[in-house]
C-alpha cells in the first residue's frame, strides 16, 4: 500500500498480513503513517498504489462491503457528544441495519454496565467511559475485524487493563484486531507486531522475532550517579543507546563486540554490570534511533 499527500508519502509500500483471530499491534512514532494505513483499510482514504484484501474483499473496489464487516475506532472520540449513550448506540445500529436493533442496543448497554446511565450525554463521560462506549459502538454490528487507533490514549491503567482483558476475550471469539499503540506493555500483549516509521515498515513478527531481528545486545548497569554515567557512555563510540529504566541503565548496541570494548573502562565499582536479554522497548528505541540517524 502506498498513500501520498502531495510531496509527503505517508504510507510507503507497506506490506502486511494479519491472520484471522489475531491481535496485531501496529507501532511507530507519531506521524509515521499508522492512522493513514488504518484509514485506507476501512475505505476512508484511497490508496494511490498497491492492493489488498480485507476479509476477502478488495480494499479499493469493495470498500462498502468492508465497511459493513469492520469496526473502526478513531483516535479521537468521534461519537456524538450531544447524544446520550443509548442514542449513540441506537444511531450506529441503524447505520449498519442491525437486526433486532432495540434488543441489540439494550444488550450492548447492559454489557457496558451503563444501564442506569444510558440517558447521560456522551460528552459528559470520562475518558475511560468514552473509550468503552466507543468500543461498544464499534462492536454493535458484530464486525469480524476491529481497527483500533490508539484506543487507550488518555485512559487510566486500570481501565487500560480491563480494556485489554476484553480484547483478548473477543479475540478468543475469532475476532481479529489491528491496534495501534505507543505503549510497550500493550505491544507485548499483541500476538504479532509491526513497526512502521516515516511510512515504511521496519520490522514485523512476534515480539521475540522483532527483538531478535533488531539483533541488540543489552547490558544493565546498577549503581550511583547513573545519569552521569549515561552521559559519558553516550559519547563513547560503540555504544548506540543508553537509556534509564528506573534504577538501572540499559546500554545497547547491535555490535556486541564493540559494545563490550566500549564499556570495559566503566566496569568497576560502584557499577554493577550484567548482560540481559534485550526487551521490546530496547529494540524499538534502537529502531527509532537508527531511523533518525539515517534521516
Amino acid at each position: 500500500m502506498t498513500k501520498r499527500f502531495g510531496e509527503l508519502t505517508a504510507v510507503d509500500h507497506v506490506d502486511l498480513t494479519v491472520a484471522a483471530g489475531e491481535i496485531y499491534g501496529f507501532l511507530g512514532p507519531n506521524g509515521s503513517g499508522k492512522t493513514t494505513f488504518l484509514r485506507i483499510l476501512c475505505g476512508l482514504l484511497r490508496a494511490d498504489d498497491g492492493s489488498g484484501r480485507v476479509l476477502g474483499h478488495d480494499v479499493i473496489a469493495e470498500s462498502e462491503a468492508i465497511k459493513r464487516e469492520v469496526g473502526y475506532m478513531t483516535q479521537r472520540f468521534s461519537f456524538w457528544e450531544d447524544l446520550s449513550i443509548e442514542e449513540n448506540l441506537d444511531f450506529v445500529a441503524r447505520m449498519y441495519d442491525v437486526k433486532n436493533r432495540r434488543q441489540t442496543v439494550r444488550e450492548s448497554i447492559e454489557q457496558l454496565g451503563l444501564a442506569e446511565r444510558k440517558d447521560q450525554l456522551a460528552g459528559e463521560l470520562s475518558g475511560g467511559w468514552k473509550q468503552r462506549l466507543a468500543l461498544a459502538a464499534c462492536l454493535i454490528h458484530r464486525p469480524k475485524l476491529l481497527l483500533l487507533d490508539e484506543p487507550t490514549a488518555g485512559v487510566d491503567p486500570k481501565a487500560r487493563r480491563d480494556f485489554w482483558e476484553q480484547i483478548h476475550q473477543l479475540a478468543a471469539q475469532a475476532l481479529t484486531f489491528l491496534i495501534t499503540t505507543h505503549y510497550m506493555d500493550e505491544a507485548e500483549r499483541c500476538q504479532r507486531l509491526a513497526y512502521i516509521s516515516k511510512g515504511k515498515l521496519l520490522a514485523a513478527g512476534t515480539v521475540d522475532e522483532v527483538i531478535s531481528r533488531v539483533g541488540l545486545t543489552t547490558w544493565s548497569v546498577r549503581g550511583r550517579d547513573l545519569a552521569q554515567l549515561a552521559e559519558q557512555l553516550r559519547k563513547t563510540p560503540g555504544v548506540q543507546q543508553a537509556v534509564a529504566f528506573g534504577n538501572s541503565l540499559h546500554v545497547s548496541s547491535t555490535d556486541a563486540a564493540a559494545l563490550q570494548r566500549a564499556i570495559a573502562p566503566f566496569r568497576h565499582e560502584p557499577y554493577d554490570w550484567r548482560q540481559i536479554p534485550s526487551g521490546l522497548e530496547d529494540a524499538f528505541i534502537s529502531l527509532m534511533e537508527h531511523d533518525r540517524s539515517t534521516a
Partner: protein, 380 residues
Amino acid sequence: MKQPHRFSFQRLRGIIAKEFTQMRRDRLTFAMMLGIPLLQLTLFGYAINSDPRHLPAAVLLADQGPQGRTLLYAMKNSTFFNFVRQVKTEREGRELLERGQVLFVVNIPENFSRDLWRGDRPEVLVEADATDPVATSTALGSLGSLFDTALQNDLKGSLATLAGTSGPIDLRVHALYNPEVVTQYNIVPGLMGVILTMTMVMITGLAITRERERGTMENLLSMPTRPSEVLIGKIVPYILVGYIQVAVILIAASFLFHVPIEGSIILLGVVALVFIAANLAMGITFSTIAKNQLQAVQMTFFFFLPSILLSGFMFPFRGMPRWAQMLGEVLPLTHFLRIVRGILLKGNGIADVSLQLWQLALFALVALTIGIKRYRQTLD
C-alpha cells in the same frame, strides 16, 4: 465491481432522528430558528416603517391669499406632513433638506390664490428628500388627490368649471422616488423569503461542517452510509423547521400586519417546499466547500447579501441595472418573492406562478446535484 449496497430507509430514518435530537439539544441554534423570524418581523414590520407619517416639512409661503393656507392645512390633516419650519427663501429650504432636518419643502408662490381664481393653474413645488424614497413615496403619492379635494370647497360656484378638468393646480414634485409603492403588504411576504434564505442556508451548512469539525464525520464515513442518505437525512428535519417559520410569518402577517391573503395557502405551501429545498441544497453545497463552521457562516452571508439586495426585496427589481437584474434572476429569493407576493396580494393561482416555480425547482436540483457530487465519501 458491483456493490450490493442499496439506499436504506432504516439508515435514512436513523440520520433524521439523530438530527432532530441534536437540534433539540442545541439550544442556541434552536433559539435562532425561532428568534430570527420574530426579530426580523419586529424590525422590518414595525421599526422599519415604510408607510411613515408625520414627516418633517418646511414651507415657503409667499402667497397672501387664503387658498395657500387651505392647502397647508389639508397637508397637515393628512398626517403625512408635519410642518416644523417656515422659511423665507428657497435657499434656506434647500439647506434644511440638505441637513436632513426636513424631508419636504413645500413652495407656494406669490399670487397663488389670485392665479387660482383666474384659472391660471398656479404651480406648487414640492421638493422631497430622495435619499430615502421609501420614506417619502407614500406621502408624495397622496399629494395629487389631497390638493384636489382640499380646494373643492373653495372652487364652488364660479370656479366649478376648473375643478373638473386637469386640476386647478400644477403640482411639481422634485424627487426621484420609488416606482413601486413599498408598504408593509409588500415587505412582510418578502420577509418570509429573506428569513428562510438566511436560516435554511446557514443551518444545513452548520449541520455538516459541525460533523467535520468535531471529528464525527470520520466515524460517519467509516459506516456503510451513502451520501444521498446523509444529505437527505440532514435536509428533511430542516424542511419541517422551514415550515414552522412560514407558519409563524403567515400568522404574524395576517394578525399583526393585516396583510391580505388572497391566494391559496396550499399553493404557498408547495412553493415554500421547493424554495426551502433550494436553500437547504445551497447550504449543503457550501458545507462541502467550507472547512469549518465559521467558513460556513461566512459563505451564508456571501449568499445572503446579494439575495437581499438583488432580489427585489430591498430595491425595486426593475429599477436595477441590467447586469444586476441578470444576477438577481439566478437567485431563488427573486423568484420566491414574485410568487409569494403574487399569491398573497394578487391571488395568483398555479398557472400564474408555474414559470417562477420551475425556475426555483431547477435551482434546487442543480444545487443538490452539486452538493451530492461534491460530498466526499473519503477523507482525502
